[in-house]
Amino acid sequence: MLPGLAMFGLLVIIPVAAAIYFSFFQWNGLGGPPGVSQTSSWVGLGNFTRAFSDSVFRGDLWRGFVLMVLSLTIQLPLSLGLALLLHEKFPGRTIFRLLFFAPYVISEVITGVLFGVILRQEGGLLNEVLRSVGLGSLIPVNGWLGTQSILLFVAFAVITWKYFGFHMIIYMAGRQNIPRELTEAAMTDGATPWQVFRHVTLPLLGPTIRVTIFLSVIGVIQLFDMIFVLTAPNFGGPGHAAETMAITMYRHGFQRFEVGYASAISVIMFLICLVFALGYIRFVMRRDIEGAVTTVGGR
């Protein structure tokens, strides 16, 4: 128990606490901890007011919200549909399952680099395909990765490519737990496939869906790798079009050495996660918690 506790305390709890402490200072990260360092000065909540008046950071919050909505309305239903399809028995479904799940083990960096090439303006796969089928007019003048108004959606598409198999696997596991008798009974009673889905499968998948929503939102909050690589070298994209909180934090903390300000951004990320997680667990997942692996408080 002790080694685990020591590791957890030193490398998880203390850094999170330190982020809170740092966030009250203006500090370039040098000359000892803030408060001691000559280069630091106490600014109280100054970093936080700065963040909320910074148009880039406010944009991060908005973009995070957009990504979250897109994930919940497009990515998750897509994964669910696919999971239900692959639940049915047909030849080759094991292979499809493996195929759809494979992108999950490919790192975000590799996915980002690969799609950077696929989406590039000249000699990219997507544009060549579009031109060869006569849809060349769809190609944006500045390219898929260079057009501010669509970059966030392009990034979302790539994120979906990597993660929909992950959610699909979770849904498939949830679907397998639904006893066959239930769907069969409904069908015997003359329910259409849609009715079976709507009134039997979907409600019984409720706990599973609620978990994937949770994972999806937490994932969006800390999104970094994919955006960093996909929008390189101008990470965040032109005009911060696909910038996330973690990228803004990185820019200020590790490039401009505004450690206090970057810490404030970390703390805001942390608070968003915390409030979301506690609220979600308390109000949405309450009934599901019993018996789940994530049982909190024990039985």
Binding site: V113, A173, L215, G298
Partner: protein, 321 residues
């Protein structure tokens, strides 16, 4: 009753040379449920026929969405820059193996792979050994503050590493672990603890207490129970958490980027790929070759350990569903 038309349709379906036939080709009269059950069976057959069509759709989608981008990368690696620019869709002519051969004969790629492997395995050993004992105690011993302590660990699930990475960086700098692989290994292990402990605790709880009790009666010590009974029994669960921790470490980018960027000899694969792609940005074919080679270990591992990966992800869903 709509039996007749549906049975006709099934006959047509079953005689058509579709893959679904194997599944539906049950000899008539064997093990068929009576009366309404028959309608059910027919209905299920009809559905399977529809599924065969759906399977085709799924297959085509999988091909277009998953296979083509990856094949584009793999084949692109066999082109020279001119070919990739002028003929992105077609096959390379001639096939140019220089990119792959060049990368494989340089030390850099192997060094990246070795580093990823070393950092991953060290993380796994640390996180699993630290978690197993803790999970065992959480599962089996009542001690003061147990629930509070467990809540603390469980709460760790809500801390995305990105939140702590900045002070972690400062801390690692102070204790001299910057530019050292341990600066990546130790924090990764620490952030892996919550999930590992939770999964293992659940598993240990499922082991019947009688087994332990009889071991104790036979004179086994507490640690003996853990070491000789619980750990061997938990082997499947240990495999799951180990695989999960390895995949997470293997794909980690932000922490290695911050800690190891100035230590080229310790770059991991993701860091190596990112650096390679910014260094050789003009030579896209070469970048593709490097990137695709970097996916090989992950994909190979995936096909071997798919079951453990799935088992590690799926139970987060709650086995009681």
């Amino acid at each position: 009753m709509s039996h007749i038309p549906s049975s006709r349709r099934t006959t047509v379906a079953a005689s058509a040379p579709v893959p679904g036939r194997v599944a539906t080709g049950r000899p008539p009269g064997t093990g068929r449920p009576p009366a309404t059950g028959e309608g059910m069976a027919l209905r299920r057959r009809r559905q399977r026929w529809r599924n065969a069509r759906l399977a085709t759709i799924a297959g085509v989608t999988a091909l277009v969405v998953i296979v083509i981008p990856i094949m584009f990368g793999v084949i692109g690696g066999f082109k020279d820059p001119g070919q990739l620019q002028n003929n992105p869709l077609g096959l390379p002519s001639p096939w140019n193996v220089d990119n792959y051969v060049g990368i494989l004969s340089e030390g850099r790629f192997w060094r990246n792979t070795f580093n990823s492997l070393f950092i991953g395995l060290a993380t796994v050993v640390l996180v699993v050994s630290a978690s197993a004992l803790a999970a065992f105690m959480f599962a089996r011993y009542a001690f003061r503050g147990r629930e509070v302590l467990f809540m603390l660990f469980a709460a760790g699930l809500m801390f995305p590493p990105a939140v702590a990475v900045l002070p972690l960086f400062v801390l690692l700098r102070e204790i001299g672990l910057l530019s050292s692989p341990w600066g990546v290994i130790l924090p990764q292990a620490a952030f892996g603890l919550p999930l590992t402990i939770i999964i293992l605790r659940t598993f240990f709880r499922g082991i019947p207490a009688e087994i332990e009790e009889s071991a104790v009666l036979d004179g086994c010590s507490t640690f003996g129970v853990f070491w000789r009974i619980m750990l061997p029994m938990a082997r499947p669960a240990l495999a799951v958490v180990a695989v999960l921790a390895l995949v997470t470490s293997w794909n980690n980018f932000l922490l290695p980027l911050l800690v190891l960027i100035s230590e080229r000899d310790w770059w991991t694969l993701p860091l190596g790929v990112q650096q390679f792609s910014s260094q050789y940005g003009q030579d896209t074919a070469r970048v593709l070759a490097y990137t695709m080679l970097a996916t090989v270990p992950a994909l190979a591992f995936f096909f071997v350990a798919e079951r453990q990966i799935v088992a590690g992800i799926a139970p987060t869903v709650g086995t009681k569903g």
